[in-house]
Symmetry: C2
Subunit: 289 residues, 2 copies
């Protein structure tokens, strides 16, 4: 199968590498060419634009930065839909706007190109270990066609509904995490301030109703003073912004998510935008000085 891959950042390069290692013919494009060097050295064809990459591909994957990048790469003058051939499938793995996913899907429909929104969770490590969760929205037949490729890169691969449903599911994921991180960092601050040993506390609270991935994984990192990403604060702010835009569109007030957005924006303003999400603790400490 001829595959085009647009976006070879940390996530994209790992994901595309798995497809390449599985023997798929790859054409790649990235804004910064050097980030595709390894894939090209392993036999991928370089394309100078998304349009060129997409021209003869059966499946076109993209994973880029912000919704405006998604819109340019998919719908722009040199974008994927300007050259993709009828019958091809476009898969957007960027975490992006559900409304934009619907818009791109409609533009694809008009040209006979099925579009799947398929954001992932699992981060750098999940991408590297082919253990990503793919949350997919779009046409069921297109999903079945692409599924064997998803399975090369991930583990939990679930069709959540029509166009946009993958992005909505990712927003549910981020909404869960947003308030969870507030709880995690406030609890750590309380533990510190009250003179408890946070590692001993974990023995009491780690196995019950307070248990979470964050408590098991980020709590020990915070204790060790490790605030490296993991998942970047600035990317989390982007995701929460999308979720809040969608919530507003649905007339939905989500006070916890709004507070998380505000607190993380503050965290970035304090200089921690390129730290991991657990750096909210640093911001809360400074706000409580």
């Amino acid at each position: 199968m001829k595959i085009a891959w647009i976006g070879t950042g940390v996530m994209g390069a790992s994901m595309a590498g798995h497809l390449q290692a599985a023997g798929h013919e790859l054409t790649v494009y990235n804004r910064t060419k050097a980030k595709a060097d390894a894939l090209v050295a392993n036999g991928a064809r370089w394309a100078d634009t998304p349009a060129e990459a997409a021209a003869d591909a059966n499946v076109i994957f993209m994973i880029v930065g912000y919704p405006k990048d998604v819109e340019n790469v998919a719908l722009g003058d040199d974008g994927i839909l300007s050259t993709a051939t009828p019958g091809a499938i476009l898969v957007d793995c960027t975490t992006s706007s559900p409304a934009l996913a619907v818009k791109i899907s409609e533009a694809g429909d008009a040209k006979g190109i099925a579009v799947l929104d398929a954001p992932v969770s699992g981060g750098d490590i999940g991408a590297k270990n082919a253990a990503l969760s793919f949350m997919v929205g779009g046409d069921a037949d297109a999903f079945e066609t692409v599924k064997p490729l998803f399975e090369i890169m991930g583990k939990a691969i679930v069709l959540q509904g029509g166009p946009g449903a993958g992005q909505h599911t990712k927003m549910v994921n981020q909404t869960l995490i947003a308030s969870g991180m507030i709880g995690l960092c406030e609890a750590m601050l309380y533990a510190e301030k009250s003179g408890l040993d946070p590692l001993t506390v974990l023995q009491s609270v780690g196995g019950g109703a307070a248990a979470s991935w964050g408590l098991s994984n980020l709590w020990p990192r915070m204790i060790g003073g490790d605030f490296e990403p993991g998942f970047f604060v600035e990317h989390f702010i982007k995701d929460m912004g999308i979720a809040l835009d969608e919530a507003k569109r649905m007339n939905l007030e989500l006070p916890g998510l709004s507070m998380a957005f505000t607190l993380y924006t503050k965290t970035a303003e304090l200089g921690y935008g390129r730290k991991g999400t657990q750096a909210l603790l640093l911001a809360l400490r400074e706000m409580n000085l």
Copy 2:
């Protein structure tokens, strides 16, 4: 060992029952006598006041309602410390104020009575199955003496520090849960409003960074329309109020916990005080109508 047990509500009756079944001689007191009937039928001695129950006991357990109840039962005219003999140990399993735990401990010291604060997590079911987590503050020797009794009733039994440290640890636990519940209920609301199937969503988000006890246990109950406790909204409000009082005393601002307190107070006002904590979803739905 002669044990006194003050407070035979749902939790206390199960816990005392385990000690009785293990062969310990029990004297019991409860504000509502009928709730101690089963223990008395099984051979426990009834006492008319906490003071009478405590008079000849080696270890005196109490688990009552609010901090004011704790203060009355421990320090009041007919309270435990009015009659307990030097060398006895008082163990308070109520979720109560850390500052009050310190006060009772000091009052005990003056009479040669060691005091442990030992709130639990695990709820009705944990109490019934002898699977509670005991978070303990106080004297290390007293802890070692009581530990075999804790082990009859629980699984994770951890000395967290001096007087009040058990209560502080419980507050950390509740702080984690408070914001976690906001995330859980907001995420469910978002999923519903965006037309997703929450059970299918769980397949995508249940195994990664959004994973939590609440997501595994309460999310399915919410889907099934099951808002029964589990853990009562009104008890959770009590606990968060204590945590916020302590935070204030430590000059600590915890915006997520404050928001959870406000949202759960609203949940109780809407008539859900005797529902489980997942009933926050019902309140958020009504607030978003």
